[in-house]
């Protein structure tokens, strides 16, 4: 984008060279912890940049080339190289990069998740300072979408407002879980998104499982036949 453009203005035709820095950062985060021969390589990159008050928000779509797998500890049979299509969102503030979103899937995957695209694009808005003026409108719209999708009903307006605040808080939690996951999982809106952590844990989980002592059973014999 030309220098001097107003903060918040969107630049949809950013030069490729501007995207390479954030793309390489995203690749570095993706490959973190991998041995040299197991690192993915960056393919094509395209994206857009939005200018914020103190930095830039990059939304990238990149192809990554996963190397073939010949390590029997990882894959019992050799696996040929794979191409992944990844969506990254990187915030660049005062020269410091932060990965806000990483979502990768094989290019031949049948799972489409257009709905989560909207939810995930909304999350960086929560980190902006100051928050966008139309944030509450966006929040209400996405919450309404959730209520419709999962057929949620609330008895009072006050409860609905409370559940919306829980929903927004959970979207931030989901974003953090996403950022810290080292697999390919995508986290976001689910039918449990209007429950507090305490409610979810109390209703759906099983605290007895971590208690000791538990009844001992005999140990099964290992499978030795091929």
């Amino acid at each position: 984008a030309p220098p001097g453009r107003a903060a918040g203005a969107q630049s949809w035709e950013a030069a490729s060279s501007e995207l390479l820095g954030p793309a390489r950062f995203a690749l570095e985060m993706y490959n973190r912890g991998r041995a040299a021969g197991a690192r993915a390589a960056l393919g094509a990159v395209r994206g857009r940049v939005r200018r914020t008050g103190q930095g830039s928000l990059y939304s990238l779509k990149a192809t990554l080339e996963e190397p073939p797998c010949n390590d029997p500890m990882v894959c019992q049979l050799p696996v040929s190289k794979k191409t992944l299509l990844c969506t990254f969102e990187i915030l660049d503030e005062l020269g410091k990069h932060m990965l806000l979103r990483r979502d990768c899937a094989p290019v031949d995957t049948k799972i489409t998740d257009d709905r989560n695209e909207t939810f995930s694009s909304f999350l960086p808005l929560l980190n902006m300072d100051p928050l966008p003026k139309d944030l509450s409108v966006k929040m209400a719209s996405i919450f309404k979408d959730f209520v419709t999708t999962y057929n949620r009903t609330y008895e009072t307006k006050e409860e609905a407002q409370w559940r919306m605040s829980v929903f927004v808080n959970n979207m931030v939690r989901a974003q953090k879980i996403q950022a810290l996951d080292r697999g390919t999982a995508q986290y976001g809106v689910t039918k449990f998104s209007d429950l507090t952590e305490e409610e979810f844990r109390t209703i759906y989980l099983n605290p007895l499982l971590k208690e000791e002592p538990r009844k001992k059973m005999r140990l099964a014999k290992s499978i030795s036949d091929p």
Partner: protein, 214 residues
Amino acid sequence: APPEWDWRDKGAVTKVKNQGMCGSCWAFSVTGNVEGQWFLKQGDLLSLSEQELVDCDKVDKACLGGLPSNAYSAIKTLGGLETEDDYSYLGHLQTCNFSAEKVKVYINDSVELSQNEQKLAAWLANKGPISVAINAFGMQFYRHGISRPLRPLCSPWFIDHAVLLVGYGNRSAIPFWAIKNSWGTDWGEEGYYYLHRGSGACGVNIMASSAVVN
């Protein structure tokens, strides 16, 4: 073990169920395992009753939680399990309405399995789906893909959800366990959860067990 295996492809797994607003995951994990064991031994896939365990397993705590080891003992003590149709799921505790005449499936014993994930894979491919317990970190917001949380966030010391391993394999060279959950088909990948395999992710290897049908 074979490089991949999925008992869903072999007809050993019933449809995904829904525990509802009740902490009865332990019952679903156990019935799923017994369904698989009965199928492998008797050739008949029957959907079995979780409500029987919720109501009649007096050692466990119904919707407040339970342990698979207790559930196996309860099945042996009662004399077996009724089918889902005969003793349908309600999602809350009620008076035990077990009828020995309606038992369709029984078990002879239960075993604890190895904590080595390669041995678990071999056992699964050979013997059937496995009841396991995991740390449910992140599952409230899980949509799809292979989950692999950082170990401090998904500690095996804080296991809080019982599920069923039905298969394993690799996606893009990332090894996974295919896990049948009990939160309905409108959660996760059509009701299934995919967890990284080989790293002890979320304690998946800590509490593996199975019923034994002779």
